[in-house]
Subunit: 298 residues, 4 copies
């Protein structure tokens, strides 16, 4: 399959279930909402060695938030609900409650699973806290240095999907990277997904296990490494490709990940120097979800 | 003491020792170096419930880095060296190795304490990695999707200081916040320090322990809470103050924290609506370092 | 009238007709589209002494542009069509054609008034230019250093409105400014309008003519100047107000300016320290359009 | 000559005299100083059809400005002093006086040529203005909506140089553009220079006159146009080059332009996909200044 002269490989992204909490962080201005959201979702690329996968989903204006101020939806993801509750307490308590002008609301008020993170944070108020209603939401006010911090009682979570992905193969590194940046911009417009890696982009695709160092659980995917394409038997790097980036997508359900994949690929293939789109899978052994590129792009 | 018509309270910031590792992250452009540095230092405001305190120290141009590319110095801080090594492995392995165009170098090459984080990361190369010299530094190249990731062998660390601080008390929240933003800008010019909270600013000053909820280790400092100043006996909030922000400073030694405190206060007191500068301490029970505002500002 | 505890004065903004051209600038990424748009709309606050009033209207993603790349709508405004054509030639020829990866399309393809700016720019191709169709639009490709610059044949214009406005009066400067920033963020979500002043905000409201210097056509509005409120007879600055900012809004028609005014005021009154909303008029002598705050906010 | 495997062509940039005024714009924060500076220097790429060439030179912190606030140096350039005075009045009066929290100071207080722009702007105060001293500088305060606007009496200017330049030729557009971005970042560290084009970068190198359209004074330089390299006789585009960007540098004297050229080239040649550095001249017919790449890079 070819679009815009770029080959779309007949392959699929393999993805797996993850628990996702969704939080709406508001601020006095869009800038301050983003400051809190950025801190709260940092150190959150991969659960391999980060305490959670986390990212900014979308920015909304005051007409779409309970308190009439601009806001940012973020997602925080872990494999289990126990770890997720801990991450909510720590990330929201340390990075949102402490952030200038930030307040926090439930990003999934209709989900079955609800954590009482706001209720637990209220004890920081040491008896001075109070209950209030914000746009129909049960919330607490905690007097602190800047004034009152507002937090909704609960934060909802669902079982979503992690590891949606696609690869951009290009003539060189900068063309691949610009394609990745354009793809991340486009995916940012899709509701319900995040791209948790730095700037939304992965520079280091990995394989499960290792050929040489048996003590490693994951190592660089040498078959997608351009600098050694001539040394590695069975390399998947075409002769005219010298730079590859991957975008990893987490999201609330299969539909939004498909939409994000499509939006990302459509943006990436506009970039001069792009050669091919591929995706990462483990032969179906890792995850139950398959996102077939040809189905998504047809 | 009064400067620019603003009262500088005769008090001191109380600070304590912490272990600090310093890393230089370079990128193809300043933008991409900052993307990696931001992800690697996120979720890093306070060791109370973050796995580390972390922040961006300064941006440098290519003439000041081993590989001739623009770079960003970051600091990562924990109480012990064991936890610090783990944070280096996880934050650098997950947020710098994975970041587009980012490479990493030792930010304290002359420190006695050195972690072989780069050496350990090289195993991700699964036998395809190679040793090289970058501007006189011993480094490894790891072939991956984008090309070769470069990491210096070691990352140095020292015993530094956490918890330097000062408070900005203002007529309202926005005046206090603009003062804090101006202070953070000014502190960013001081070598050797970070301001680890969101946007460099703390909205929620705390006290040790609790009056009401004995199970809490730290709670909101009600004596510096403007919204309840009329209800709290012994409130430290003046009648004309309705917003307070704190800046917390970590740094390599006492000298740089003093410099940063001075630079921050000098910037903050330029802002219309500012009323007073104070600082936080625990009566000398918590930390061995005292930063007296009157000594610093004289 | 009071909303959120803030007085909305019973007054109106007086506005006048202006000619508005609307251009869609696309780029390889959102960043590069914004770089071109920012340069093309600079030095464009007021036709009093700028060659045009100009600003960024909104950012759109690739699915909404003729070439599938992210884009930015800008408006360029002058009193007459002759001056407008000159501004289009100069601003687009010097700041978009020259900008990295930028292409330009008609932002008002259905308007009656059309300038053949793209046709005229093609002569820069010196005979090497070619005609092409981009998403159903007649366009030209001009070979240059970066590759081919693409410009649509025509740029449309309409008679719109300049000078929609409102004032934010606050306890101090920083509170008023944060309110203005929040208002500009909110107005950015309204289609069809721009806020042409620096950062969207006016620090210097003016009156027509002068009391003292008769050679001046416009001077500072001393009745809205907080620092001299006690010296000026008939000052409109309340006792508790020490900072005022104005937002000026240009737009395609009365409806979008009303919407923008409402969105801006709703955002501004969320900010702590805000005291009052007002608006600027000249007693109906200057312009035929009146935007009554009480009608807009009811 | 080859550096880092990239050919540096044995050629020179040809540059010519221009009048340069230098202004220091301060703000409550770095952000607000940049907002004013960006507006004041927009629509300022080339005097061919912009009213001036203009750009941001550097950001300084409060310890380096007369009023203790962060600031931004900008340069505004025209061929004659008469046009320069008009541009100062219009750009500073419309884009700095009107900008939130911005004040303006003389960026060349020791220059022989001084314009009394600040003195003239004071008449906007309509008799309410006052004289004051700011850090030893004679200044005026003008009461307006936000409070008092401060402007120094005079703005200095010198005869400087416009048109310093170099070209980055790369395998494709994105590699060339990333090289250009890295170069602009590096040049931003050099005191005394600006890169006036959008984002500091020129996408459209031109030649004097035309081959086909004799009514055009400047047209695209077809010999440096990659998309038609196979059609144009005597094309200077190598077979392996498909994207070229130029950086144009204005500056106070030959020394700073040489330094900026060197810093920019050193940064650009770090980028993967870069093939060659060249420069633009007109055979010595246009300007008296020659910047030989081999001299600068040796």
């Amino acid at each position: 399959m070819e679009i815009n002269g770029i080959e779309i490989e007949d392959t699929y992204a393999e993805a797996f279930p993850i628990k996702i909490a969704r939080v709406l962080i508001t601020g006095a201005t869009k800038h301050w909402a983003l400051v809190a959201a950025t801190e709260a979702t940092g150190f959150g690329t991969s659960v391999i060695a980060c305490p959670a996968e986390a990212g900014i989903e979308k920015v909304v204006c005051g007409s779409e938030t309970p308190d009439g101020r601009p806001g940012v939806y973020v997602q925080i993801c872990t494999f289990g609900y126990k770890g997720l509750e801990e991450q909510l307490m720590n990330r929201l308590g340390q990075c949102v409650l402490t952030a200038p002008t930030a307040h926090m609301y439930n990003g999934l008020p209709d989900a079955q699973k609800q954590f009482d993170t706001g209720f637990k944070l209220k004890f920081f108020g040491d008896g001075q806290e109070f209950e209030l209603d914000v746009g129909g939401r049960k919330a607490f006010g905690i007097p602190m240095m800047e004034g009152d911090f507002i937090t909704e009682h609960s934060i909802g979570a669902v079982e979503g999907i992690a590891g949606g992905n696609f690869f951009m193969l290009a003539e060189n590194k900068m063309a691949a990277l610009t394609a990745a940046e354009a793809a991340v911009d486009a995916i940012a417009e899709v509701e319900g997904v995040i791209t948790p890696f730095p700037g939304g982009i992965v520079a280091s695709g990995s394989k499960v296990g290792a050929n040489t160092y048996s003590f490693m659980h994951a190592t660089s995917n040498e078959k997608f490494s351009p600098s050694i394409k001539d040394k590695v038997e069975g390399s998947n790097v075409p002769a005219d490709v010298n730079g590859i980036y991957e975008i990893v997508i987490n999201g609330l359900n299969e539909k939004v990940i498909s939409e994000a994949t499509r939006a990302g690929i459509e943006a990436a293939i506009q970039i001069p120097g792009m050669k091919k789109i591929s995706a990462g899978n483990f032969g179906g052994t890792l995850g139950p979800y398959k996102f077939k590129l040809h189905d998504i792009m047809k």
